[in-house]
Assembly symmetry: C2
Homo-oligomer: 368 residues x 2
């Protein structure tokens, strides 16, 4: 794997929009549903503020936003750093972990979220891939086997992109313990935590209150604002100063209009907004999976996030097959081989279009 996923994204989105027939785009992870009203109101209110409010926010993020995050997550505000999306929060955890701890191996899963893999290589560390189970979950024993004194960090996302699996509390607890056993950092990326369909299936790694755990998150998916770039990390005490310093020396600070709007939305958005998103996505998943059943496809039904991986007999998940599906079936997905060898036979579909059911019907027609 030498490519991070956005270039494949871009290529496929351009390929799909260049087609002279109708194509249903299920390539990207960009939400298509409405953001909270209070977010738009927050932007408008910000536009009218005094110019003093247009200047540098605190490097670690607006104080009120950090406070709101700390309160919601039950952590000390001093451990919270607001970042340029979860992407930067993960980068900071990985870069500072590598600088502070021994070991140059970073344990990732296969299939892997490609940013983790390529970021690991950019940082000069060695990715070690642990195969996920067929249903996308992770067996901690497989991590125990690969972990050693060379392990610097274990980085996972749950709910998982690309599989939609949700690791249970005991899996996460075990990962935190394996990290502690090897003086390593467990980076738990929880950006899809608002999109879990099994009550109680999700547990945050913050529950374990472990000095070996960093939890990262963002408002990108929960508020449908991937372009705002407002995320955060909750870092252990021994790491948080390094994180703040690196954040300052790389980015100086995050973007204040976006932080302000998120702060407003965080305070004003009712639980029913998030619940509505979940219900809407669940209905899409039902319809999409029913049509996949019809098509005789193998697939993993997501317990969280909005990705469905599917496998069609004799139709491996290569870029050229994905292009063929765009041309011949009018459906654009992502090739499974972009996420590692284990899913080379699979395709990933992002259910971020109201036409998900129609897309599945097209797939059923195409493969039948």
């Amino acid at each position: 794997m030498n490519e991070y996923d956005r270039p494949v994204f871009f290529h496929l989105m351009a390929y799909a929009s260049g087609a002279d027939h109708d194509v249903i785009d299920m390539v990207s992870g960009d939400p298509d549903w409405e953001s909270p009203d209070a977010l738009r109101a927050g932007l408008r209110a910000y536009a009218d503020l005094h110019v003093d409010d247009f200047q540098y926010p605190p490097s670690e993020g607006l104080g009120e936003l950090r406070e709101a995050i700390a309160e919601r997550r039950g952590v000390d505000m001093a451990n919270v750093v607001v970042t340029n999306g979860a992407g930067e929060a993960n980068y900071l955890a990985m870069a500072c972990g590598l600088a502070a701890l021994d070991g140059d191996e970073i344990v990732l899963t296969d299939p892997v979220y490609p940013y983790y893999y390529n970021r690991t290589e950019m940082l000069g560390a060695t990715p070690r891939l642990v195969a996920a189970e067929p249903d996308g979950t992770l067996d901690p024993d497989a991590v125990v086997e690969i972990a050693s004194s060379a392990t610097n960090a274990i980085v996972v996302n749950s709910p998982n992109n690309p599989t939609g699996a949700v690791y249970g509390r005991e899996t996460k607890r075990a990962l935190a313990e394996i990290a502690a056993d090897h003086d390593a950092l467990f980076v738990s990326d929880e950006v899809y935590d608002h999109l879990v369909y099994d009550e109680g299936a999700f547990a945050s790694a913050l529950e374990f209150d472990s000095p070996n755990v960093a939890v990262t998150n963002s408002f990108s998916k929960s508020m449908a604002i991937t372009g705002f770039r407002v995320g955060y990390g909750v870092y252990p005490e021994w790491l948080v100063e390094d994180v703040r310093t690196r954040h300052m020396l790389v980015n100086v600070a995050g973007s204040r209009p976006a932080q302000f709007a998120v702060l407003e939305a965080l305070g004003e958005t009712p639980a029913s907004y998030y619940e509505g998103t979940r219900r809407m996505l669940e209905a899409r998943i039902d319809a999409f999976c029913d049509a996949l059943d019809e098509a005789g496809a193998e697939y993993t039904r997501p317990r969280g996030s909005f990705y469905v991986m599917a496998r069609f007999e004799g139709f491996p998940g290569t870029l050229s097959n994905v292009e063929r599906l765009i041309d011949e079936a009018g459906v654009a997905g992502m090739p499974g081989d972009a996420f590692g060898e284990s899913r080379a036979d699979w395709l990933r579909f992002a259910l971020v279009t109201p036409r998900a059911e129609e897309a599945a019907q097209r797939l059923a027609d195409y493969f039948s």
Copy 2:
């Protein structure tokens, strides 16, 4: 120097605002004048866009914004990467230069903009300081003397923070040539390019069209929006792919509301806005320097930016003296020793308050 400047900033801003008497704040580099009207209008317009426009912008920045920058700067759009402020643009140039070129020394000036120094150390490189002339300009011969096969990059900002000096065209040309001679990168940070008071004094390093030059900039000072975090770099062809990759793996993308508002402002803001800012700052500088003359202080009159460095007999530029000035004169500046040894006797005042003249009068009263 083991501190980057923001913690000193924060400390002094807190110290000044905690005083029980009136203090004129000249610590930070935060503009106090109004942003362009079109910027506020751009934010309001963005708040009403479809949610699709709230999702990931292209990692390298909104296409129209890159196009507008490329056109204004007379460069190829392919070389422009929109960043999270000039801070990230400089980080990317330095990090990618270190990865791509031989040498682990980065040539900086003394006095130095502290971010450069601390970023150099964070990247594992060695800062080599070249003393600036008493008036803040840089003698290229001094750079020739220190440059060697170990030189990886030369990083300067002109108009200069903290001195207000503007390096002439021939100085910049020489720096580009020295970089080329040693297979190094000349990083020319030009964030104050709209704030130059001598017609023709400023030249962009883009003029030389050299493969050894990266030019960085931002809209933070020209539009009074340091908190928006919209900057850019123009990188040479051999470096720009590395820059795009690192930008993607660190930040994924910049913040879209801020980029959108800047794009609107860039198209709609008349030259008179920038000219008005210059005239206003020039009047402040005149008044401040006149009062410093009265106070018998030595000072450098800025030819660009909005910083004045001043020296008061027997009153070195230490943190404790700056605190004394806050307590006893009601004026808050920055200690010169935060910028390196050569200015340890000096204080830096940022003219980002309409009370600059009053502040100088207070200094005159205090020191007379």
